[in-house]
Amino acid sequence: MAERHDVLDQAVQAILDGATEVAIPRELEALVAIAADLRDLPDPEFKRRLGGRMTATTTQVREVTPYLTAEDADALIDFVKDVFGAEETMRAKGGAGGTHCELHIGDSKLFIGGNIPLPHGPNLGTLHVFVPDVDAAYRRAIEAGATSLHDLTDQDYGSREGSVRDRWGNEWYIATERGERYRPKNTKDAMPYFHPQGAPRMLAFLENVLGAEVLEKYEHEGAIVHAKIRVGASVVELGEAHGQWQPVPMMVVAAVDDVDDAFARAVAAGAKELDKPSAQPYGRRGAVEDPFGNQWHFMAEK
């Protein structure tokens, strides 16, 4: 006759394998019920890591949001809505007549501004967007005037993806994860993708200034090919510039608890001062340009 610990373990294994019906002797029923609840036991290492992030660095930065501008911003807003199903949460006119619009692509924010002359040119961006139906989104982008950079392809690493450049010059990597979930672990629905020259230095800048944390990093011959980086509640991506993927400096709004602290850290890490921290009607604000040409606008709401 099988030992009690063997019988219980057979039931445990069946639970871990996802069985819904497990045949068990009556005297072990109460223990198997405990085992069934333990199937969801959180990984203590996950609890420790998340707790560390919550209470150490990320209190400085809450989230980061790319900010695109265009002289015909309304048309760009329509493009993002039509192609990605973005939801507009706010649109306002500024004192100088410009538009500021806030959108959500899934769980991620995107700001678009403009509708005024932009003598220094628009702020462009590169964004990686995960959607449930990549074929439809890609088709809508092309129909809306974007040009293809890469046709949709099934990649070895599990994504089906393609890329386009919209008629304003922004680049969009449009992807879906094959399988049950449309996006992989450690991603958000829309993430700014940086292609700096000197990715390790930019990563160090993000870590030092914004308390960023590397979630995944893939290297080849000493170069960072691709990294997913958590910055506050957001995820940004980064890969060394190469081939046709050259730097497209972005403007990013970083919601922080302490604008002066973030500004001082950025300058200490080699950023150029654009606007010293000052009180604005909507809260405190300061801006820098990092050594890779990206503008960081630090904001703390009132």
């Binding site: 223990l31 707790g51 989230e63 979930r181």
Partner: protein, 161 residues
């Protein structure tokens, strides 16, 4: 956030992590998604902590509300339908509380038993794998697993009178 506020948030995290995890785990497909959602919940909580303090509702109820919203948004974005009650906020004394207590009790087990439970369930390792890692026989690991689950059963029953 001041040092005091940060310490307070750390305390609230420690007190409520298992509850949020227990709430989320049964409503998602797998462990990776559970961890994604739980991370989102606590980041949103950190972001909105000032708003919470003004409203004066129990912290855990506020966390459940955030979790329900995160789950709802994710389901909507992926075109999935969530059963309506999956987006409901649980009562304080329901199944979630019981499982959260169980998760916390794992930490109070003797170290050898705790190691087996964590490796077997949280890390989902086979008995052979756990035995190899802990330098014990498979029979000994199964014995530790049995004793640990018996101890947890006794403690859960004890805590519910």
């Amino acid at each position: 956030m001041t040092v005091d506020e940060r310490a307070r948030f750390a305390e609230l995290y420690e007190q409520n992590f298992e509850r949020v995890y227990a709430f989320v785990a049964r409503r998602v497909r797998d462990r990776a998604e559970a961890e994604d959602v739980v991370s989102d919940v606590f980041y949103k909580a950190l972001k909105g902590i000032d708003g919470y303090e003004e409203r004066g509702v129990p912290f855990v109820a506020w966390l459940y509300r955030i979790a329900a919203n995160v789950l709802h948004d994710r389901a909507r974005q992926s075109g999935r339908e969530l059963p309506l009650d999956d987006c409901d906020v649980p009562a304080a004394d329901d199944d979630v509380e019981r499982r959260a207590l169980l998760f916390r009790l794992v930490d109070t087990l003797p170290p050898a038993q705790r190691d087996v439970i964590v490796k077997r369930f949280a890390e989902q390792r086979s008995i052979a794998d756990v035995a190899r890692q802990l330098g014990r026989s498979e029979g000994a690991v199964k014995q530790l697993q049995l004793r640990a689950i018996e101890a947890l059963r006794a403690q859960v029953r004890g805590s519910h009178g």
